[in-house]
């Protein structure tokens, strides 16, 4: 037998890799959304699945349409890295259950195209694509996105699961807000009527709100699991929640009858969902540990400011988007101290 000359690979060190890749990280977060989706279905029925499906379809189709095709057989990387899928799911979970599917689809399209692709694709985007999609929907359809349906009266039962809201199926360009049964979200109740919602309802999710944000317990559990698995920087959600608790405690101490309790602030609205799933998007948050603290605390402060004194009942989305914009600045001032050196000079 003739000995074939060995073809030796020449690479530079290190020659080992941990083997946890970006698509794997993405898919872990996608898996972590499954319990949230389940909770959404429990309280809001099939509507949740329909909306998530629509926004995922919008996101993935846009990704596919604009991604350069390398060859006909091998889909390009960006379609397979799961980031488009994740954007779609997260966007879907931030929508109210009565939203029209066509709007969810449109949100996915805008989120991916304007939120990600025009900035240069994954890793280059300044803003969280899912939130860009939602901000667009908020600006375009302010009524539809603030029209809350109450959760099912008998959550988990077959009837309430299969009862699809008519408004979900509105034809493209047509109104979705035809459903008669609407209610106010806990934050709206607190802001405009000064009427607090029982914290236990907030905790288990039996309140009106966006699909994914109502069930606090599921989000907390998934957040802890993801933090342990180091899917994201634990400092960000922790600092957001601490900041919200701290900053909302001050007005509450002064005027308890007018302002919500810190616990109510933490559990209501999209705060937990935003802190765990949105603000932790690695691309749009600072990489340095110090930066993560600044980033999270600023989001918390903004959330409290917008919720208590702004024109809107909810402010998590804008707070995160604003701090997304400030991320490069934060990174610049929050460089880690280098080993064997004093304060970083940068």
């Amino acid at each position: 037998m003739i000995k074939k000359p060995m073809q030796l690979l020449l690479q530079t060190s290190p020659f080992l890799r941990r083997g946890i890749t970006t698509p794997r990280l993405m898919s872990e977060v996608v898996i972590a959304t499954i319990p949230v989706i389940f909770a959404a279905c429990w309280y809001f029925g099939l509507s949740a699945l329909l909306l998530i499906f629509a926004s995922v379809a919008g996101a993935m189709l846009t990704e596919w349409f604009f991604t350069p095709k390398k060859s006909s057989t091998q889909p390009s990387n960006s379609l397979l890295d799961g980031s488009g899928l994740l954007t779609g799911i997260l966007l879907g979970l931030t929508l109210p259950p009565g939203m029209a599917m066509w709007m969810a689809f449109l949100g996915g399209v805008v989120g991916i195209s304007i939120g990600k692709l025009v900035m240069g694709g994954l890793g280059q985007n300044m803003f969280n694509p899912a939130l860009v999609g939602r901000a667009f929907l908020q600006a375009a359809f302010p009524t539809a996105i603030t029209t809350w349906n109450p959760p099912a009266t008998s959550p988990g039962s077959l009837e309430s699961f299969t009862a699809i809201r008519e408004s979900n199926l509105a034809a493209p360009f047509m109104q979705s807000s035809t459903d008669a049964v609407t209610t106010a979200s806990p934050l709206g109740l607190m802001k405009f009527e000064h009427e607090p919602t029982p914290w236990f309802d907030l905790f288990i999710g039996n309140t009106a709100g966006s699909l994914g944000e109502t069930c606090a317990i599921v989000i907390i559990v998934m957040g802890v699991i993801m933090a342990i698995r180091r899917d994201f920087d634990w400092r960000i959600p922790v600092s957001i929640l601490l900041a919200v608790a701290a900053f909302s405690a001050i007005p509450w101490f002064i005027k308890p009858e007018l302002y919500p309790t810190p616990l109510g602030m933490l559990l209501s609205g999209g705060l937990l969902f935003g802190a765990v799933y949105m603000a932790t998007d690695p691309v749009t948050s600072p990489v340095t540990p110090k930066g993560a603290w600044i980033f999270g605390a600023s989001i918390g402060l903004l959330v409290v400011l917008i919720r208590l004194w702004g024109g809107l009942p909810e402010g998590v989305m804008y707070a995160i988007l604003l701090m997304n914009a400030a991320t490069p600045l934060i990174e610049r001032i929050a460089q880690p101290r280098v080993f064997g050196r004093g304060r970083s000079a940068v």
């Binding site: 009524t143 603030t146 405009f192 024109g311």
Partner: protein, 235 residues
């Protein structure tokens, strides 16, 4: 654009100061001529348009009225602005309009109010009957409220029609979920802040004018018709 000449040619002689003045002078002269001519022609039309718009608005907020005259408050009573001959000019904010029926009988006042809306200042005109102590109608003159939401304060006929009439005592009140009393206005769903702004503007304006409109309204004095004709004849 390739044609752009980036620098003035260095070899060209620097033009004299006289030439510069002359150039601008000629341009100014031509411009002046054109403007004077256009202004002469359009000014009366513009004035007429404005008057017509105002009349229409007043007639809208005071139903069945046919004539109006500008009034202002002076020395404890409302007098016609037109009576001021050579006196100090009346500030626009101090003017309200008296509306009269086809028989020259007094129908009510039309009052301009303004205040902060959701986006920008809202200016509105409302009709007021001092006898019934009620708002007769409301018309938004200027607003930049959110299309589709806040702009319902003038686009939503149901909302607008609530103002004809609504009682001003003790004050106009904004409620949610349907009006239950004659001094209440039902807010627009999703545009609470804009609805609230409208009600607040009316209440504020009413506070300002309430005492001043308690006396007897001035009589309607029809404008002298020949003067108008003369003007028309000139055209």
């Amino acid at each position: 654009m390739k044609e752009v000449e980036l620098t003035c040619s260095a070899t060209a002689k620097e033009p004299s100061a006289l030439r510069l003045v002359l150039t601008l002078g000629i341009a100014g002269l031509i411009s002046g001529f054109i403007l004077v001519f256009v202004y002469q022609y359009t000014a009366p039309i513009i004035a007429a348009n404005k008057a017509k718009a105002l009349r229409e608005a007043v007639f809208k907020v005071v139903p069945n009225s046919a004539y109006l005259q500008e009034l202002h408050y002076k020395d404890g009573e409302l007098v016609r602005v037109a009576d001021e001959s050579g006196g100090e000019k009346v500030q626009p904010g101090e003017i309200l309009y008296g509306a009269y029926g086809p028989d020259s009988g007094f129908m009510g006042y039309a009052i301009v109010g303004s205040g902060n809306g959701f986006q920008d200042t809202i200016r509105l005109l409302y009709g007021y009957d001092p006898v019934q102590r009620a708002v007769l109608g409301m018309h938004i003159l200027d607003s930049k409220e959110t299309p589709g939401l806040g702009d319902k304060i003038y686009k939503d006929a149901d909302f607008v029609s609530q103002f004809s009439p609504v009682l001003v005592d003790p004050s106009v009140e904004l409620v949610k979920g349907g009006r239950k009393a004659d001094n209440q206005i039902d807010a627009i769903t999703g545009a609470t802040i804009s609805s609230d702004a409208v009600v607040k503007i009316i209440n504020n304006a009413h506070q300002k004018w309430d005492d001043k409109t308690k006396g007897a309204p001035p009589k309607f004095v029809p404008p002298p018709p020949p003067k108008e004709k003369e003007k028309d004849g000139n055209e």
